[in-house]
Symmetry: C3
Subunit: 484 residues, 3 copies
């Protein structure tokens, strides 16, 4: 298909319209949280607090910054592994996240934080907005290289909305616990993205096979993303847990799970290669599956060995997924999953939801203490009579709802994105920065010594070296016709 | 001009002399703050504190580390966008910042923190020193590629001094509020740097046009800088605000402004390209303008939508600046602004000062609460009778003083740096790491298959491939003479 | 020697066995610390605390995350400087650290944190595990490029054990203070690694000389590592100091020492080059020596100028070491120290131990206050009668024990690693990612214009450009035979 990928009016219009809408809606709806308002002085008196440290800011700000790094540097650089798509990976992730956090503040605010018809904005909202956008970044991984920034903005708009509704159903209606978002963020994000990419199926993507692989330096850039995701994941899973032991425990469990996951990912990567060599794709991705799968249970009394076991199996399953499942999905189910998010977020997300449900159902007053159990699962107010089994059951409902929302939402959004006027690239131009970016013309003069096989005398200036121009990025070079 | 750019004695001498001076001055003047001194035990009793958490360290350390990352990784990598100047960008930034923070601790200490003839050193001093150096990093952006490290050390010495004096005038004498340093850091740094680069004008810089552009990977390295600046800017603007709501609010406002700025930068970048393509220069720089412009007002009750509006316009203005103003400044005013700091720090800095002045002037007891207003603007002691209008007026004076100091200081320092013996590079060697760095000799053997158009038989070994040596970095290659 | 470097069964088996062992041992031994347990509610009552902020988590989590970044991104990227060994540098560091932290939690737990036959796991354990692994990362720097991942896992297993024993002797038996680990981490890690590399001496490493050098972009990747180490080192040295002034002071001292170190490193780097040019190796490494050397004394009343002096000399000594000592060690003592850890961790570590001993011996009640002195050096309980001189003496014993343990341990582990079946690479394949990694095949078509010296008419199609294939990474290219 010959689409017009010139974004000159479409992208600016989309950005400006959305941003103007944000300004207006923020003006109408958004105010500061009491902890961030100049009335903090009266608030302190009201809550009988003497120290400024009790401001929510000091409990959560370090975690917030870590989560922020994960969304922008973590996801952004993780996706730079493609040899010619680094600008788009980092740049479009930047764009969609910057829009997504604003829209998420609004939608999540309307659903969770309305007081006196106003959304009250504090550090917790910022973290939740980053969480919401993380699920969009996950979905972006599935469609990476095949969509235009306009499509991404549209996808972000709808996905953030659906995410918030789904989150509302889970956390408020089903009373599900999901601190690290195994269900709300990863499962939802992954299956949403996979559905969208299924609907946007491109038959002739074979011709860009080369550009779908990595290059030496692009793999190193991607490792920056991997490591920041891996290192800060304990902050991610603990960022919105209850103060004190919950945050502390969530960080420890995530740390353990991630560590175990690295060893089994490496083991499988080597075992599945005929010469025992490691594959960067697995190191970049499967090592993170442990963080996804411990998301729901991180703040529960999973015990350190429980976390290790979760990480252990996730590393194995995720690597197996990259080797066997991704090719299968593409060839049989026509699901082109660029980053393999099914292996990093999809399956581990479902596993995480199940682990969470089981851990919740098995919670006992011996392990938590009577007070701790009530506090951890909010067994108070109308939930006073809930048993842990019931909590477990509702956790499973939460998973099913998330999957249903992801599939339904993905179909609708996929169909919208299939409309032919969003500036998407033609099949042969996928995975190429040059479609949407002004690419630096890298020309280096290369010294090519005289061909020793050419006898002097055959041509006039035998000792004069030849200078040619080499473009050291493939982008420009490959665009040239091959002359026989 | 044929300057001698061999730094063998000049650079070591400059570094060692400055460092010895630092040691001596620290020995004479610098002691620990009570919060960092082993007498903290008595201090706790004196201040009637029971918890160690009330140590200033816990209020500010996370923000400090984020600011530290912005200065060294943020600014350092942001400037690696030039294709052959990455070592110098990161390395010289490292050098000047390491010297600058020491000198700033002293000068700022003398002006602000002297007790008993000693400077008392605590976490707040470290943050302020980083702030001061940030303004030098801004100025470095204007002269990037055209000055020697010796010149940078001299510039740092003078700029840190002037910065501290200017800051003293603003904060202590004019009682100006400037939490994120729109005036003290960005406006001052930018116009100081622009004045210096004007005086160091190089007529023949055209010949290095190629090296003044980026390369594919250098643009990705620069994005590391951009993203860490963008992500940690909320910490920057909130790092030295008052405890509690002020820090909290400053972080939220900055977060909002930056998010809006990304969308409008992208919009303008696309709209201004004839094929609607995005330009990395805008994504790397204009997206940050929102953080600069919200610097002064960040801790005030700007309201989230106010922050969005600031970011909205800054993204537009900054991108327009890169497209239209920077070429104009260079061709007409002979201001060669390598990184376009005028668009990222200059104009947004001035805007930020004005936004701050207006926000201060419009502050009312309804919005802040009586106590909050007095606390936020220090309307106590001799300022007890100040009105917010008066505060606003003084904010404007602060801007004017900063501009005047920057211009005057820039002229003097520029003239000093013009002296011909600081090891500066010749015009044709600007923007080239090879002048000051030992560059790795990267040689890769390139396989060049037989020219198929050459008939076999014309030369002896027609099927033998030719091997040539290609240097994959332009630095070495371009140094070779072009043979016709 | 022709070793078999195919890891297909060895690496997966090693990883899986170790990980299964970890799961089992964690199951038997590891439980949550009271601050991370759901019984925190009763703990709060027991300790008479009202605020959740008194949970150890809030004192140490930000520092922990910084240390985590140093271990994984800092050390990992610092070692990517080799032109063809980036995957292994980052990837193997990731693997060994992920295993090491689990094993360290166990061994350190058994020695320090056993209560009721269980190890209680909290944030401090995580930091200490990261510390322990940092010493393995140091040793990895010595053997980088010459060992297989299986060897690294074995080395990690033994080194973590020895580290923990050594740490136990120093901190528990000798009552030594070593907040930043000058002795336990750096001296021990460096001399352990140097001994191992001595025993693994490879006679024919000359042939890989080219691959032992850096490339332009690999040096920039390494700077990411350097800067994150440099910036977060204050967190490293203060992470496990006592609450309040000790943490605060440790951060300040480290900040000062590191700043001074940058200037003297740059000075020496330039002074030792015949054209005064800077060497990236020195900027990447020697600038960090100040953080190592201030490790022991960081939390003491070293005074800011004392820290500057330490940094001053370390920058000089470390750079001199790179220029003169490393070649000497290789040629005379057959110690092949890939990253020059002797200059960055060895000598500065010893210096740091001595500085710490002297600072402790000179501590006086005038400087610390009576209460501060007792608190800082734990002069209570059975240590009530200790003098500071005695403390100083024990600090020196600590250094000697660390050196002895490192040498003995290094010999034993080196001999184990010399066994021929661990999958190590042949001498000619050292420093090459291609041995253990699936490397992306980077092929770019290069446009080579017609040789102007060839007269038209000599061959049939004179204006047709020739296209050849260039592999832009040396890895692939150099594997091709050189044709005369």
């Amino acid at each position: 298909m010959a689409w017009n990928s010139n974004l000159r009016w479409r992208l600016p219009l989309a950005c400006l319209l959305l941003q103007v809408a944000m300004v207006v809606l923020f003006g109408v709806f958004v105010r500061y949280d009491p902890d961030a308002d100049a009335h903090w002085w009266t608030e302190k008196t009201r809550r009988n607090i003497s120290s400024d440290l009790e401001n929510e800011f000091y409990y959560r700000y370090p975690s917030f910054q870590d989560v922020h790094v994960m969304v922008f540097v973590g996801f952004g650089f993780l996706m730079t592994f493609l040899q010619r798509y680094g600008f788009s990976a980092v740049g479009f992730n930047f764009l969609l996240a910057a829009f997504g956090i604003q829209w998420a503040l609004l939608v999540q605010g309307w659903l969770h934080h309305v007081e006196d018809r106003h959304i009250s904005l504090g550090i917790e909202n910022l973290i939740n907005a980053d969480f919401c956008v993380a699920s969009v970044c996950v979905a972006f991984g599935a469609v990476l290289g095949k969509v235009s920034p306009v499509q991404l903005l549209i996808m972000t708009f709808f996905q953030v909305t659906l995410f918030s509704v789904n989150e509302f159903i889970l956390l408020q209606l089903l009373e599900v616990k999901d601190a690290g978002g195994s269900m709300t963020i990863h499962t939802f994000g992954a299956y949403f993205g996979l559905t969208v990419t299924r609907i946007l199926y491109r038959r002739n993507l074979e011709q860009t096979k080369e550009r779908q692989s990595s290059a030496y330096h692009s793999d190193l850039f991607a490792m920056i993303g991997t490591l920041f995701l891996w290192m800060y994941w304990p902050s991610f899973n603990s960022a919105i847990s209850y103060h004190g032991d919950s945050q502390h425990r969530a960080a420890i469990n995530t740390y353990c799970s991630l560590a175990a996951c690295v060893l089994t990912s490496v083991a499988m990567s080597s075992a599945l290669h005929k010469k025992g060599k490691l594959d960067m794709v697995h190191i970049q991705n499967a090592t993170l599956a442990g963080g996804v799968a411990v998301g729901t249970a991180a703040e529960m009394m999973l015990m350190p060995y429980g976390a290790l076991i979760v990480g252990f199996f996730c590393g194995i399953i995720s690597t197996l997924g990259f080797v066997y499942l991704t090719p299968f999905l593409e060839s049989r189910l026509q699901i082109q999953d660029t980053c393999g998010i099914h292996n990093l977020h999809g399956i581990p997300g479902i596993l995480g939801a199940i682990v969470g449900a089981v851990t919740a159902a098995c919670a006992s007053p011996e392990v938590y203490g009577q007070e701790g159990l009530a506090h951890s699962f909010d067994f108070q107010g109308f939930k006073k009579d809930w048993t842990t089994r019931r909590q477990g059951k509702f956790q499973v409902f939460g998973l099913l709802v998330s999957l249903a929302m992801a599939l339904m939402g993905g179909i609708i959004v996929g169909l919208i994105l299939r409309l032919p006027f969003w500036g998407q690239a033609a099949d042969e131009n996928c995975f190429d920065d040059a479609v949407y970016w002004e690419i630096p013309q890298e020309k280096s003069t290369v010294y090519i010594p005289e061909d020793p096989t050419l006898k002097p005398g055959v041509h006039s200036a035998p000792l004069v070296p030849v200078l040619s121009t080499v473009s050291s990025i493939p982008v420009v070079a490959s665009a040239m016709p091959l002359v026989p």
